[in-house]
């Protein structure tokens, strides 16, 4: 568990599982569970027409998840951000054990689980107010590098790569590849990089 000097403690979950869960400083202390992008799955969904309910959206998202990643959606918890006016929605999935069992276990220890989010979602929400509608928003951490592409305020692509330094490709190459695949001109985007390895993501042509 990360140092809990702040009011809200953070429990980090990586590929190896969750860090040891300690007892809260007092019953009901707030806890955020932060899931590494290496564990999470991201994809972009076209807004499906004629959806009648949120359960239909869940089924549709689970189908897309299975088609893209080939994993059994029953073992994963899927969430979609059904943004109004958007034609494409960002979707995210994490293993159900982290979305369901871990919060229950934390609650049993006396924590009040406030948020369970993946790293990229949390960093995006921290920075989104300052981002341009045309942005490549990237999180460069020691575990992985996540690049999301936004054009005219709409999500166009999101991919998780190995951490910078462990891959022979430079950050510029990764970004160019992702942009090419999404059909987005890389020059049209303002690149924003956050995370502990952001210094390694020097954007050069």
């Amino acid at each position: 568990m990360s140092p809990s000097r702040t009011k809200v403690a953070t429990l980090c979950v990586s590929l190896g599982g969750a860090h040891p869960l300690t007892d809260p400083p007092h019953p009901g202390a707030p806890l955020d569970i932060l899931v590494s992008d290496k564990v999470a799955r991201y994809w972009i969904m076209e807004r499906p027409p004629e959806l009648a309910s949120i359960s239909e959206l869940d089924l549709y998202a689970a189908d897309r998840f299975a088609a893209i990643f080939g994993d059994d959606p029953a073992a994963w918890t899927v969430r979609v951000d059904p943004a109004p006016r958007a034609e494409r929605w960002l979707a995210c999935a994490i293993p159900t054990s982290f979305a369901d069992e871990l919060p229950r276990s934390a609650a049993a220890h006396g924590w009040q689980v406030r948020r369970v989010q993946s790293r990229y979602i949390r960093e995006f929400n921290r920075c989104c107010r300052t981002l341009d509608p045309d942005t490549a928003f990237c999180v460069a951490s020691r575990e992985c590098t996540t690049i999301g592409l936004i054009v005219a305020g709409q999500w166009r692509g999101v991919r998780v790569h190995p951490p910078l330094g462990l891959t022979t490709a430079s950050f510029a190459t990764l970004l160019q590849r992702d942009c090419r695949q999404a059909g987005v001109p890389v020059d049209a985007l303002r690149t924003v990089v956050v995370g502990s390895l952001r210094e390694r993501a020097q954007w050069v042509d």
Binding site: D81, P84, R104, R115, C128
Partner: protein, 164 residues
């Protein structure tokens, strides 16, 4: 207003509003007991020796105290921030028909109409991600065939963060 909207993606189990209400009720009860206790304290000897019956200030009545308390609570609610947040979240996909506020409970009840049900289902998570709003619950939604453009009628209850 620039920037992008936050992503309404959170895997945390839904929070129970009942607990918050209980806590608020408990807090209000404790304050009431404290206020009653202070009101019943006998005046100190020093004060009594210097103040005659004519100069003794009357304590405010319970109704006055409650009114002042309600006004202070109302002033402390982040109204402007909340209105900005609502405007950004609903956009053109929903019409806000009615806003009812309960400053004492820091609760706002919204009534509106939206283009589709999925958009409505996404509103609570979207609103919950905004700083002035502590919690948002979709109380109800209903498909009304009469309105073509905005057929889904909805009611959302917001719990606001109190303080500056």
């Amino acid at each position: 207003m620039g920037g992008l909207s936050p992503l309404a993606i959170d895997f945390a189990p839904p929070r129970k509003a009942a607990k918050r209400t209980g806590w608020l009720a408990g807090g209000a009860g404790a304050l009431l007991v404290l206020a009653a206790g202070i009101a019943w304290l006998p005046p100190a000897h020093v004060e009594a020796s210097h103040m005659g019956a004519a100069t003794q200030r009357a304590l405010p009545g319970a109704e006055t105290a409650q009114a002042v308390d309600a006004a202070v609570r109302e002033l402390n609610l982040p109204w402007l921030a909340m209105i900005d947040a609502l405007g950004a979240s609903f956009g053109t996909d929903a019409l806000l028909l009615q806003v009812e506020t309960d400053a004492r409970r820091a609760v706002v009840r919204l009534e509106g109409e939206a283009r589709d049900a999925v958009t409505v289902q996404g509103f609570p998570a979207r609103l919950r991600a905004l700083p002035p709003i502590a919690d948002a619950t979709l109380v109800g939604q209903e498909l009304r065939s009469g309105t073509v453009a905005y057929p889904v009628h909805f009611v959302i209850e917001l719990h606001l963060r109190e303080g500056p």
